[in-house]
Symmetry: C2
């Protein structure tokens, strides 16, 4: 309703003056400012974002593409992003990809339409070369997953070494027959965690039985089913490493359904440390990712890019730690 014109009229000044009161008050007389601000207050005036954006050719909206907002891991990261976005006057446009690549790509148009000034990708479904092309034109930062050989600002954890750390923990508890329930092999994340597992096993000269490595898809269901599969072999593992917590829950429930107990019969370790991991019984031993920090760091990076600041560094590997709880125990066999 009330635009800058209305304010100008009521304050008896030109629209230029109103505009200046809002953006360069130091160039306006004290008294005029007061008068104008009063009217602004009065009319509840807020400058039209579209007009401003068109004129200034810059927006304060950023886009975050998430594979699945329902996953608490991502929503935690999102909260981190939102938090520093707000502090700096940005709004976040949510792009839930629903685990669908086409949809994910569709969001790139938001950037082309200048609806968002930059983008944070929490996914890694889009092909590396496309990401690189986009990143060359617009501010983009990758969070959580990184793309091999792509030189785009990234914040993540070292999945390989963390998975190694988790595996070593199991080995040091005396476990030798260790099963692994992996994430989908078409995700970097899934592959890296598996790689860490292999590295640790090799380092301790332990053989990895191919049968004991099963591919899941990060869902509870898949964790449950793959564990059932592992339990079906004559020679069951004494410990299982699930590539994320949800699958670990599935594995544990499968084990218990078979009448065995965790950790006495089989130890289970997870990855992510989602909110629920400490509530679950047994409380889950897992690798904790600094989700919130990943979010804040990613957003800070993006702001840096958007404001064209000089960056000393654009690749950040955040610390993660092993959280010891009740789902692992010394190997008894």
């Amino acid at each position: 309703m009330s635009g800058i014109k209305e304010v100008a009229k009521q304050a008896n000044v030109s629209i230029a003056t109103v505009s200046r009161v809002l953006s360069k008050p130091e160039s306006v007389a004290e008294e005029t400012i007061k008068k104008v601000l009063e009217v602004i207050e009065d009319l509840n005036y807020q400058p039209n974002a579209a007009a401003r954006q068109l004129r200034m050719s810059e927006t304060t909206t950023i886009l975050v593409v998430v594979p699945d907002i329902t996953n608490t891991f991502f929503s935690d990261v999102l909260r981190g992003i939102e938090c520093v976005a707000l502090e700096n006057g940005y709004q976040v446009l949510l792009g839930d990809a629903g685990n669908n690549l086409e949809q994910e790509k569709g969001y790139l148009n938001i950037l082309r339409q200048k609806k968002a000034a930059g983008m944070i990708l929490l996914t890694a479904g889009i092909e590396a070369n496309i990401v690189e092309e986009i990143a060359a034109q617009y501010p983009v930062v990758l969070a959580c997953e990184y793309l091999e050989g792509v030189n785009v600002p990234t914040v993540s954890i070292d999945n390989v070494s963390s998975a190694r750390k988790a595996t070593e923990y199991l080995i040091n508890l005396g476990h030798k027959r260790i099963g692994f329930i992996s994430g989908p092999m078409n995700s970097v994340l899934g592959r890296d965690r598996l790689k860490g597992f292999y590295q640790a096993m090799a380092q301790y000269n332990l053989k990895v039985e191919p049968d004991l490595v099963q591919e899941g898809n990060f869902s509870y269901r898949s964790g449950f089913n793959m564990m059932l599969k592992l339990l079906a072999y004559s020679h069951t593992p004494t410990a299982v490493f699930a590539a994320n917590d949800e699958m670990a829950f599935g594995a544990i429930n499968a084990i218990e359904q078979k009448g065995l107990t965790v950790p006495q019969d089989i130890s289970v370790i997870g990855f992510d440390n989602i909110k629920f991991s400490s509530i679950f019984k047994p409380a889950l031993t897992t690798i904790s990712q600094p989700t919130f920090d990943i979010g804040t760091k990613a957003m800070e990076l993006l702001i840096g890019l958007m404001t064209k600041q000089e960056m000393e560094k654009t690749q950040f590997i955040l610390e993660n730690k092993l959280v010891l709880r009740d789902s692992c125990y010394k190997c008894s066999r």
Copy 2:
């Protein structure tokens, strides 16, 4: 980079023609369309959203204000919203209020700036009169919570009758001393669920011991602590109704920490049926809310408002149901 001018030049037509190819192709010659589309494809041209919005004074962005994105209940609703938003060409701007009223109010400016064409409130922190005022000027729909006496399109469940249903279930299992861990009393939602509890108890002529009603804040922690409090009384309840699932988890874990078991010693029922409720042990008996549907319905309503369609109805109460699992059992005392 490439705007409509560039396209026009390369296609050898005026910008008006380019614009028409995109919006009213039936008024453009077949051949011209082809030529223009080719150039558009070539340049990867996408019309500038700000310019379009300014001219048309309408945007395809909507705002969703969420109390806490980390809560899977809200993220489920959000997914429902996002889903139909996408189908209809809308984008969703995320407003995480971080349980902070000031922040929540701040998002109203997004509407005033015309950055969003409408808003869905998943919270009910803002004062009723303010909501009403805003709703008079902009399309707004309330989801999850409703504001008493406010005539704003709403989709929700009937918290009172659902809470009554849950309580009746407990009563029918033979429980007489039933505890209640409520949500915060300053939320409608919290109050309604408590009201339903009272109604059911009264209906069956059961006394509600004031000591057995404790106020939590919907967090796991508070559920745990309030349960500890209930257990400290000499005469403990045989069943407990927690106003949401997270608190129910807290209650159960508190009970078990005291050496008692659920449901044999004490039955526990929750509310919401979040993803985790079926994974938890014991699997939680709870009231299931149609989260996804709440989201889709809310977005459909909002679209209706924004496109000024005639609405037969603007208040929707969605069905919920009692999900029977393993956390409740017949009263043995």
